[in-house]
């Protein structure tokens, strides 16, 4: 029996845990404010908030309910637009109405939910963060400018905050009063859920952001092993010079990790290139790795960093390098009964440099045409060790071994970068598809390699590489 809270209502249900939260909300509970736009997490019209207790605090984040399994709602507070409505308009709704930030209105509840979620987080109350909260919401009518104006008004109101976010939000008509009782109510709900249905095969599901795009109907009938909330699969810790992450760590967890922030100064810019806020709240690292997309952003990121995976089945544990994990298109060096349990990598040393690049048709909330990461360990002016990875240029997320080797022991110069580009071109085999022609992808990777070096070595004159001829 699944047990959670939907808005102000306690839910106990024995419905199949594989149905989407979206269908449960709209068709089982007739809460029609949550809209269906795409069912693949790309429009945000079905955004809802998920509240859960972490480290003793009740925290909320936004998700696209089309990609969230009902089973992942266990023990949580699910908030739809109906659960946000107060008598009259709340502060977010008021700003939207005043600024004309709603036209056809179909995307609007998603925006309101996402932004209200921002209003009750402890994120820094600045305009940019508020916009980030709605970066997974697509509006086809307004051109977003009125939404920007409404957001600015909301942020201004929030700057008066001097109390606990939830208390302030209740006191200032952002959310209804019942939110103040949720923490206690969640504490009373057991947070364990074990499926008692036995169907086969047992499907392993983490955040669901990929599986629900591909097969949401099939998942309804499956017996699912829910991995997302398993304690052993979560957490980011430092062990000596290594960073160790549970497999179900999300992109948002990484973005919020003080360890990552400390070691990757461009982290927020990198993360911003990865899908949207809602998806980052669900998408897990192991999901990104096992999905084996040739353009998985985090796969490319951690290939350069030479991450190691800990795989586990019922009896054994073994380690494998991410660089050895891909055998062919969507073929993994992993047995069916194995799951990724942990991911670890050596934290960058003081003289290390790291760069991540991604270009797609739309700069944000899009899948890369080509992405690439470069990690170099420096010894003075000389590269001691290098890891260069590239996605979208072959059947697997590629670690460019020859290119990486070639960099070792050399100083950066125009000549060196050009040599690496030449070698990289021999290591890749892009195909033409909807994300670009093969010719373009080759050119683009060359450009991204140049971009890595221009960014990481500002004192070395590399401008010559960028000319029209």
């Amino acid at each position: 029996m699944l047990h959670f809270i939907l808005n102000d209502k306690e839910i106990k249900t024995s419905l199949a845990p594989g149905i989407t939260l979206l269908d449960f909300i709209r068709y089982q509970n007739q809460l029609t404010g949550t809209k269906i736009g795409c069912r693949e997490g790309d429009c945000g019209a079905c955004s809802v908030l998920v509240g859960e207790i972490k480290d003793g605090n009740l925290i909320y984040h936004s998700v696209t309910s089309c990609l969230m399994a009902l089973g992942n709602a266990q023990g949580k507070h699910i908030v739809t637009i109906e659960g946000i409505n107060t008598s009259g308009l709340n502060a977010v709704q008021e700003a939207f109405a005043e600024e004309g930030a709603t036209q056809c209105g179909f995307c609007t509840p998603g925006f309101i939910v996402s932004l209200t979620g921002f209003c009750i987080t402890d994120k820094k109350l600045v305009y940019e963060n508020a916009i980030d909260a709605i970066n997974g919401n697509i509006c086809r009518c307004t051109g977003y400018k009125s939404i920007e104006r409404a957001t600015a008004i909301i942020v201004k109101k929030l700057t008066e905050r001097n109390a606990d976010p939830l208390q302030f939000a209740v006191d200032n008509n952002f959310i209804p009063h019942y939110f103040l009782g949720i923490k206690q109510r969640l504490t009373d709900i057991s947070d364990s859920y074990e499926s008692n249905i036995t169907l086969s095969p047992v499907k392993k599901l983490a955040g669901g952001t990929d599986l629900y795009v591909q097969q949401h109907e099939e998942l309804e009938d499956m017996d699912i092993n829910f991995l997302f909330d398993k304690e052993i699969l979560n957490g980011i810790t430092q062990e000596n010079n290594n960073c160790v992450m549970g497999a179900s760590v999300t992109a948002a967890d990484i973005a919020g990790s003080s360890l990552f922030q400390q070691y990757f100064k461009d982290l927020q810019n990198h993360i911003k290139l990865v899908s949207s806020t809602q998806i980052r709240n669900m998408a897990t690292l192991a999901g990104n790795f096992t999905n084996a997309s040739p353009i998985g952003d985090f796969t490319i990121f951690f290939l350069a960093l030479n991450a190691k995976l800990i795989l586990r089945n019922n009896s054994e544990v073994r380690a494998i390098a991410l660089r050895d994990f891909y055998k062919g298109y969507k073929v993994l060096a992993k047995e069916d009964d194995e799951i990724i349990e942990k991911i670890s990598f050596a934290l960058p040393a003081e003289n290390d440099l790291f760069s991540f690049e991604k270009v797609c048709k739309r700069s944000y909330l899009d899948i890369a045409s080509v992405n690439s990461a470069l990690h170099v360990k420096m010894d003075g002016a000389v590269i001691k060790e290098a890891g260069l990875s590239a996605g979208g240029v072959g059947p697997i997320p590629a670690f460019l071994i020859n290119s990486s080797k070639h960099l070792t022991g050399k100083s950066v110069s125009v000549k060196l970068v050009q040599e690496v580009i030449e070698i990289a071109q021999k290591e890749i085999a892009p195909i033409s598809d909807v994300r670009g022609t093969a010719v373009y992808k080759r050119l683009l990777l060359s450009q991204l390699i140049k971009a890595h070096f221009i960014k990481l070595f500002p004192s070395i004159p590399l401008e010559k590489m960028i000319s029209a001829s």
């Binding site: 269906i36 736009g37 795409c38 693949e40 109405a97 690049e357 045409s369």
Partner: protein
Amino acid sequence: MKNIDSYTHVRGESVYLDDIPLLSGTLFGAVYGSPVAHGKIRSLDLTDAIAMAGVVHIFTHKDIPGVNQIGGIVADEPLLAEDEVHFNGMPVAFVVATSARIAQAALHKIKIEVDELTVVTDPRIAKENGSLIVSPRTFKMGDAAQAFKNCAYIFEGVAETNGQEHLYIETQGAYALPAENNSIKVYSSTQGPTAVQRHMAAVLGIPMHRLEIDVTRLGGGFGGKEDQATPWAIFCALATYHLHKPVKYCLNRMEDMRMTGKRNPYSSDFKIGLTEDYTIVAYEATFYQNAGAAADLSPAVLERTLFHCTNSYFIANVTATAYSCRTNLPPNTAFRGFGGPQGMFVIEAAIAKAAENLGVPASVIQQKNLIKTGDEFPYGQIAASEAAACWGKAASLYKLDRLTSKVEEFNTGNLFFKKAISLMPICFGISFTKTLMNQARALVHVYMDGSVTISTGAVEMGQGVNTKMVQVAAAVFSIAASKIKVSSTNTYRVANTSPSAASATADLNGKAVEVACLNILNRIKTVAAEIVDRDASVIEIKDEKVFAGNETVPLNWNELILAAYLKRVSLSEHGHYATPDIHFNYTTEKGHPFAYHVYGTAITTVTVDCIRGTYEVDAVELVHDFGNSMNKLIDRGQIEGGLVQGIGWMTMEEIVYDEKGRLRSNALSTYKVPDIYSVPKILDIHFLETNNDSLAIFKSKAVGEPPLMYGIGTFFALRNAIKAFNPHSNIEFSAPLTPEKMLMGLYNFENAK
């Protein structure tokens, strides 16, 4: 005044098609679309699908009691394929089941064998093959061939614009309910309730009066639900007709993208001739419109391409010919701008080509040739022009000279990034180009308690038309807007409506509301005159109070209405409006088709990352001819939204069909529309107030489509930035200018098409 729907919108309480509570026993449909783009059907095997538990019936063309035809302009579009299929996704069968999931599952059990025929996706090839939807059209003014002989400069070229997916966030859908006496009520997410009703009646072989089509609102339309909402509504009605059960079908996103048509792609040839002082004296253009597999609205779209082939310029000698080419894509259709943007892109490309070759900024040629009041358009209408006013205001207000020098300064100091600007003047004609469609009706009831209901033919799809209707009634009656409610758009209340399209919905329906309200007002004024014993001519209503001359009388709106009712005076009126003065002769291709034109000028500034080939729109600053805007909040929203949609069309929105006619950009993960980060950092709008056009409702000019064309400026600004980096770039006049084309253009890579 705020949009009257904003309260329920922001609370998630507005009702869209998929939110309508279902009647018990409702069945669910799903369309089986052809898996190939062109071929002869050898066999269709429904056995396994019908055998599935929960499948109620599967309809094919054999189940159609009337005619299997939904073509509006040309009768060339069967509702369900008979012997042949003409595009991938063409409806072949309609499955009805007890749940949407079962209906979807049954689609996978249908087996079809098709003998494949050659697939054509290129309009020029279709034209070579003689596959035209309608006869070509030519607009001609002066003698271009002769004028070219005297030109100092002549430039020729090719310009191409790809299609555009509407991507209304609410997909297409319908819900049909049986009613007594073989009538059917259909909730449809359509911009054209009458089109749905008319074609449904023909398909079912029953009179229109048995079909009640009801529309509360759409979750976006943009033209995509003008003609293309019809088939889904008819499928549901066909099933209801046979099964006497409620039947619903909401397309999922992939079905919607695969089976519906989009903005017509165009490939065009241009030839432009200028004198030494850069006056454009001759222009020839040939447009190859990719219509898709059936006419749909393409002939009308084609016509508007010709109407707007010279954009905002006066050119004395013009020959423009347009071919509507039949290909094996879903029938392409209306999309905001309706062929106008496609025509304007070509003249802008021609001017850009001339400018680049002559070594002058395009703006020099553009400004020199702006159309003036008294100049003639190629179709014979005489301009009442605001072109120079908009351009001049934009140049001065936004300090064009300073902007230009700042951009040059930036480019001198930056190797990796280049900035550039462009100017985009627009001129867009308001009216349906088919004169007969410029009519509308409104039904206004004043209830005995003083509250008012308005029904019109206008469909609310986010453009705020219902709010404007309330404003019209509130102004005419001089009562609070809160006293007025707009009913759903319903073919039982208002008949024979034109679709909500052509930017003309507020004008046409607003004028009809005005007519109806004025007639009621005159009647109640007479009642008031009798009550206070004064002449009706001195009676006024102001803010719900009655005045005689300037004196208040002890009578308010509510009392007056009740009095009128008690005196058996009609408090209802059905107002009719037909736009005066417009006409067009299809033999001479001359006339006065538009009630008026809307003008404007946008200045676009962009920055290109020359390492990565990515770009940002720094600013779009524009002066727009609003007339006398009756709702600045709504009108500003239309400009902002239209512009960003236009920028999307010109930059990231790329429709990809493969050689087999399969849509590759078939989901939101592969077809990208602007997100919040990709809009211009600065978007400034200056309201140019003009007072000349009384055919606009309250002199507030139509605002729906024109702003989309400001987006074309982004293409040319980006192109200028490429040239700033690489003056020898071979970049083509081919939109959208995706990051791929950008990078290839920056480095002169051959585009591997």
